[in-house]
């Protein structure tokens, strides 16, 4: 299998890291044994835990303007396991920074086409019946570079704008019922209290279906960068519509046509028209190990191919893997549980013959939708739709064991 990090820590690094760990727990006099391992009775207890000092995967941060408030950070998918992303590594995309919010002062205003306009405190919100649900969160722009022909070099850069999270909160339908939703309400404008008061118009059907008002993330309170203390979660829908730092829900009869649902998060086709209110993330899959930028042991031998598949329209039904450039495909094994609109891990046993190979995955969701190739997607949408680009992503395994992206011919 591929080494978990681009460069394995050398023996010297291990010694230094071990010594640092000891220093940190207040036993500077003990020295690390010469094999780089430490033993002993120190429990290293910390009020708020940290991963091992040997573990280095981090988010890849990209600023998107010269002002620090706009940018993204991508999840290191090649280093993670299973269907839930650690909160510290969950991807981010911000349009106007991360506000600091005292939850005791935070309020949610629900107004517009309701019988009773209401203001809820966080205590109120937490008193409603709660649910927890595991689902993915994905930026509408995940992997858009590949559509334009950038051939992103590794899976963190290509697909890192997706994470799997267990969310906890209140079904939005309960809160809307509390306010007395009027039949004339067709849209709900969700607005954050961040600097740009991020606003999105959400069709009322989604609000009443599976939308959640979320305060919990992976068993603890939301992280600030995920919308602390309250965010909207719309399972399977593009990340931006899952408004963070939620402060207001306005029930209305028409969409606001806000900048983030017109200028951004719309897909420009080659005929010059753009598609609007395209919320659902369609099914996609990608191999995370071995993947671009990593190296596997050269020569013939066994390697497990790992990957993730997910669909904003339901459960993943089937994942297939090809290790011969797409000529033949074989079924991958899906890791249980396979959940609605959640990351689904898959694996495929690969007996590599040691020769250069192109490996890739494709998936089908429970609606029968098949993940397209880049050629099929570009034939339908052209090069500039950007958002919702969900094509198959191949990786090339060289005889040296190095893994690269496959150049895209535009």
């Amino acid at each position: 299998m591929s080494s978990p990090h681009p460069a394995k820590p050398g023996r010297r690094d291990l010694l230094v890291a071990g010594a640092t760990a000891l220093a940190a727990c207040g036993k500077p006099t003990e020295s690390a044994p010469s094999d780089g391992q430490t033993a002993g009775n120190a429990a290293n207890m910390r009020p708020y835990g940290e991963r091992s000092a040997f573990e280095k995967p981090v988010r890849a941060i990209r600023m998107l303007s010269a002002s620090s408030g706009t940018g993204s950070s991508r999840t290191p998918l090649a280093d993670l396991y299973g269907m839930v992303t650690p909160s510290s590594l969950t991807y981010e995309r911000h349009h106007a920074g991360v506000p600091t919010i005292d939850p005791s002062k935070h309020q949610l205003l629900v107004h517009g086409l309701v019988d009773r306009p209401l203001v809820f405190t966080m205590d109120d919100i937490r008193r409603f019946p709660s649910v927890s649900r595991i689902c993915f969160l994905e930026c509408g722009g995940n992997n858009l570079g590949d559509q334009r022909g950038e051939s992103t070099p590794n899976v963190q850069q290509s697909h890192g704008l997706v994470s799997g999270v267990q969310w906890t909160g209140v079904p939005l339908s309960i809160v809307l019922r509390e306010a007395g939703l009027k039949p004339a309400a067709k849209w709900m404008i969700a607005e954050g209290v961040d600097n740009c008061r991020m606003a999105r118009s959400i069709p009322i059907a989604k609000a009443l279906d599976d939308a959640l008002l979320v305060y919990g993330q992976n068993g603890e309170a939301l992280r600030p960068e995920q919308g602390y203390p309250l965010r909207l979660v719309l399972p399977g829908w593009e990340g931006n519509a899952n408004v963070k730092w939620l402060g207001r829900l306005n029930l209305v009869d028409q969409p606001a046509m806000s900048s983030k649902e017109t200028a951004y998060y719309t897909e420009l086709r080659s005929d010059g028209k753009a598609e609007i209110f395209s919320f659902a993330m369609e099914a996609r899959s990608v191999i995370t190990r071995p993947s671009g930028g990593r190296k596997i042991a050269p020569g013939p031998g066994f390697h497990q191919i790992d990957g993730l598949a997910w669909s904003g329209r339901g459960k993943i039904k089937l994942v297939e893997v090809s290790v011969d450039g797409g000529t033949t495909w074989a079924k991958a094994e899906l890791q249980e549980p396979v959940l609605d609109k959640a990351l689904t891990a898959f694996r495929f046993p690969w007996q590599w013959d040691g020769r250069e190979a192109v490996i890739q995955s494709r998936c089908m969701d429970e609606t029968g939708y098949l993940q397209p190739t880049r050629e099929e997607l570009v034939a339908a949408r052209g090069l500039f739709s950007g958002y919702h680009y969900n094509a198959i992503k191949p990786w090339k395994v060289l005889a040296s064991g190095e893994v690269t992206s496959v150049p895209i011919v535009v």
Partner: protein, 181 residues
């Protein structure tokens, strides 16, 4: 049959009434009309939500130079890789080099007002009084050749501005890709 239909309709009506009935949990407090008015700044394409006020590109130029040009550049041309351009690209959307800006891509002038009102200037938003926002919008639209320099924008005229890409948006057509297997 008739009865069945009748009771089905009755059930649906009952379900709706049940949905719209009294609160179940008694949580939250009644929002005061005043706090709703203060919070509700959303501007809709038909002009709903626009504050009373007016401005034009002459006034807007001065506001833009002092509050916006620092980032978006003197004529709204932006700074490559640093700040978005607010002008240009009109007519480019269907070509091999589409350029999306307020002028070429945004379908409604109301959205420009709403965006500036809620998000700009980027590092100190929510400071511009309505008249300054009208003027900033007017200047950006004027730089794009959409309105004249002396044209007044107010809560009545702003929604009437026809943006070049007003008819450029179509509903989500997915699933739209033909996959061969």
């Amino acid at each position: 049959m008739f009865r069945l239909l009748f009771s089905a309709v009755g059930l649906a009506v009952f379900a709706w009434v049940a949905f719209a009935q009294a609160p179940v949990y008694g949580l939250g407090r009644t929002a005061a009309p005043d706090e709703i008015r203060k919070a509700d700044t959303t501007v809709f394409p038909d002009g709903t939500g626009l504050p009373v006020g007016h401005g034009d590109a002459v006034l807007g130029e001065a506001i833009f130079n002092s509050r916006c040009a620092l980032c978006h550049n003197a004529k709204g041309e932006g700074r490559k890789g640093e700040y978005p351009a607010l002008v240009g690209g009109i007519g480019s959307l269907g070509t091999k080099k589409p350029v999306k800006t307020v002028g070429s891509y945004w379908p409604y002038a109301t959205t420009v007002f709403d965006h500036i009102n809620r998000a700009m200037p980027f590092n100190s938003p929510h400071i511009l009084p309505p008249n300054d926002v009208y003027s900033a919008v007017a200047y950006i639209l004027h730089l794009n050749g959409i309105i004249g320099k002396g044209d007044e924008l107010n809560e009545k005229t702003l929604p009437q501005v026809k943006m070049p890409n007003r008819d450029g948006f179509v509903p989500d057509s997915r699933p739209d890709i033909k996959v061969k297997r």
